[in-house]
C-alpha cells in the first residue's frame, strides 16, 4: 500500500466573523492549500467536506465556484469529528487506489447560531431534561478532581497554557494570555467549569491536500511533503451501565489502532493536538491516548511538561480553547498545525523537536453513548 502524504495545508483565521459565509471561508482555505501544494484544482480527484450545521452540499458550494470539474465531493457530518472524518475518508480513498490526490475540507459558521450552551440533538432525552455539553464535561471534571486529588487551579493551568500558545498563532481566535485568577474568576457555566474552561463559539475553515507516492512523484513538492502514517475512525458503543467517566476507553481503542498502523507508540510522539473542547477534556484525551498516565496530566501541566518547551507539548496551536472551535474545521486545523510544525514553518511557536505528532478528535453524545466518534491521526516519521 502506498504511503499517504500531506502536501498542502491552508486555513482561515478562526474567530467571530458574522459577515463571512462557510462557503467563502472554505474557498479561502482550499485556495491556500492548493497554492501551498503548488497544484491546480483539477489535479485533485476527489474531495470530502466536514461540517455540522451548514446545510446541504457545502463541499460543492465551496468547490464548484473554484473551477472543480465534476470530481466526486462527499459531505461529512460526524459531530466534532466531522473534519477529521473528512480527512479519514480521503485517506481511505487514496489507500483504496481509486484516486491518488484528494482534498479534505472543514468549514463552519457558528456565530449567532446558539442561544445559551451547546447541547446534544433536540430529540435526545437528556437534552430535553436540560443536559448541555458543558454539563457533561463538568461532571467528568468533578469526578476527575475528586478521584485524583487535583485542584481547580491545576485545571485552570490547561487554559492558561493554551491561551498563551494561541498568542503565538496568528490565525487563533484569542490574542491575549489569561491568568489562573482570570480563569477561576470568570463567569460560572456548569460547576466546576467557568467560562474560560470552555472553548468559544467560532467561525473558520481549513483544508489539506493529500496524495500517494505516485502522485507525489508526478506533482513534485517532495521537499515539504509530510507523511501521514495512521488514520483511525472509531464509533462509540452503547453502554448505559455505570462506568469510570474519568477515562476515555474510546480514545484508548482508537489510539491503539493508530499505533499499530503507524508502527509507533506513545513514546515516539513529540507533540500532540488534542480535542480540548473543555479544560478537563485535554486531560482525559492525552491520558486516553496513553501520552500521560491516568490521573497525572494536570500535575504535569503545572510542571510545564505539556508546554512548548516541555517534554511533550500539547496544543501548540492554542487548541480549541485558544485557537477556537469551528466544529467542522477543527479536525483539519489540527493537521494543519502538525504539518506546519513538522515542516519547521511554525514561526514564533516552532518547536525544537517536532518530528512525529498525533492529532485526536472526539465528539458527539447520545443517551447511552458517551462519545459518538473518535479519530486519531499520526503525522511525521
Amino acid at each position: 500500500m502506498s504511503n499517504i502524504y500531506v502536501i498542502g495545508v491552508g486555513m482561515t483565521p478562526f474567530g467571530k466573523f458574522a459577515e463571512r459565509t462557510p462557503d467563502e471561508m472554505g474557498q479561502e482555505a482550499v485556495v491556500a492549500a492548493l497554492a501551498d501544494a503548488g497544484i491546480g484544482i483539477n489535479q485533485v480527484q476527489a474531495a470530502f467536506c466536514g461540517h455540522v450545521f451548514q446545510g446541504m452540499s457545502l463541499g460543492q458550494r465551496i468547490l464548484a465556484p473554484l473551477g472543480a470539474r465534476g470530481m466526486p465531493v462527499t459531505n461529512v457530518e460526524n459531530a466534532c469529528c466531522s473534519g477529521s472524518t473528512a480527512l479519514h475518508s480521503a485517506v481511505r480513498l487514496l489507500r483504496s487506489g481509486e484516486a491518488d490526490c484528494a482534498l479534505a475540507i472543514g468549514a463552519e459558521s457558528l456565530t449567532g447560531r446558539f442561544a445559551g450552551a451547546l447541547s446534544g440533538d433536540d430529540s435526545d432525552l437528556e437534552t430535553m431534561l436540560g443536559m448541555t455539553m458543558p454539563a457533561v464535561y463538568a461532571m467528568r471534571a468533578q469526578r476527575y478532581l475528586d478521584e485524583y486529588g487535583a485542584s481547580r487551579e491545576q485545571l485552570a493551568a490547561v487554559v492558561v497554557k493554551n491561551k498563551a500558545n494561541a498568542v503565538r498563532n496568528p490565525l487563533a481566535q484569542f490574542k491575549k494570555e489569561v491568568s489562573l485568577e482570570q480563569v477561576v474568576g470568570s463567569r460560572p457555566i456548569a460547576s466546576p467549569l467557568h467560562m474560560l474552561d470552555c472553548c468559544p463559539v467560532s467561525d473558520g475553515a481549513a483544508a489539506v491536500v493529500l496524495c500517494t507516492d505516485a502522485a507525489l512523484a508526478r506533482l513534485g513538492g517532495q521537499r515539504r511533503a509530510v507523511r501521514l502514517s495512521a488514520s483511525v475512525l472509531l464509533s462509540g458503543e452503547f453502554d448505559n451501565a455505570p462506568t469510570d467517566m474519568t477515562f476515555e476507553t474510546l480514545t484508548r481503542r482508537a489510539a491503539e489502532a493508530a499505533w499499530a498502523q503507524a508502527g509507533a507508540g506513545p513514546g515516539d510522539i513529540d507533540f500532540a493536538e488534542v480535542h480540548d473542547c473543555f479544560s478537563i477534556a485535554e486531560a482525559t484525551r492525552v491520558e486516553g491516548l496513553g501520552l500521560f498516565e491516568k490521573g497525572t496530566y494536570l500535575g504535569a501541566v503545572e510542571r510545564g511538561e505539556a508546554s512548548p518547551d516541555g517534554r511533550l507539548p500539547v496544543n501548540t496551536s492554542g487548541g480549541l480553547l485558544g485557537k477556537g472551535h469551528p466544529l467542522g474545521a477543527t479536525g483539519i486545523a489540527q493537521v494543519v498545525e502538525l504539518t506546519t510544525q513538522i515542516r519547521g514553518e511554525a514561526g514564533t511557536r516552532q518547536l525544537g523537536r517536532a518530528r512525529v505528532g498525533v492529532a485526536h478528535c472526539r465528539g458527539g453524545k447520545a443517551v447511552g453513548v458517551e462519545g459518538t466518534a473518535c479519530t486519531v491521526h499520526v503525522l511525521g516519521s
Binding site: 445559551g116 432525552l125 431534561l129 461532571m139 475528586d146 457555566i189 448505559n240 467517566m245
Partner: protein, 132 residues
C-alpha cells in the same frame, strides 16, 4: 406523548422510570429499548420498572442553558441497583448540599418551559432524606 413523558409513569402516587431488560443477557436499559444494544436484534426485550432509589455518581450546577431551561439548576448521573446510570435533573433547593454517593429518590418537578411558557413536568431525583 413526547419521548420524555413516555419514559416514566405514576404508580400508587409515585413516579417510576420505565426501562427494559434483555431476556438473553439480562442487561437493563433506560429508557426502554426494543433491541438490546449488548446483543443486537434477536433476543426478546421486556419492559420493566426501575428502582426508585439510586446513588449520585456526579453532579453539576448549571448557570447557563437554553432559554427554555431557567437557571440555575442541577443535573447529575444516578446509578440504580439494576446496573443502569441515568442522567437526570437533581432537585436540590434551600440549603441542602449534594455529594457524590448521596442516596437519591425519584420524584417529579418542573424541569423546563414549553413553547407557550408553561412548565414541563418530569421525573427528577432528590436527596432521599428530603423526599416526601
Amino acid at each position: 406523548m413526547s419521548l420524555l413523558q413516555s419514559t416514566w409513569e405514576m404508580a400508587e402516587g409515585k413516579p417510576v422510570l420505565l426501562g427494559s431488560r434483555c431476556s438473553a443477557c439480562g442487561t437493563v436499559h433506560f429508557p426502554a429499548r426494543r433491541v438490546c444494544p449488548a446483543c443486537g436484534p434477536g433476543p426478546a426485550v421486556k419492559p420493566m420498572r426501575l428502582s426508585r432509589r439510586g446513588r449520585l455518581y456526579a453532579f453539576t450546577q448549571l448557570h447557563q442553558s437554553k432559554p427554555s431551561f431557567p437557571t440555575p439548576y442541577y443535573m447529575g448521573y444516578v446509578d440504580l441497583p439494576e446496573g443502569v446510570r441515568v442522567a437526570a435533573r437533581i432537585a436540590c433547593n434551600g440549603d441542602s448540599t449534594l455529594h457524590a454517593q448521596d442516596e437519591l429518590e425519584l420524584d417529579t418537578a418542573a424541569v423546563a418551559l414549553d413553547s407557550s411558557g408553561q412548565p414541563v413536568v418530569s421525573y427528577v431525583f432528590r436527596p432521599a432524606a428530603a423526599a416526601a
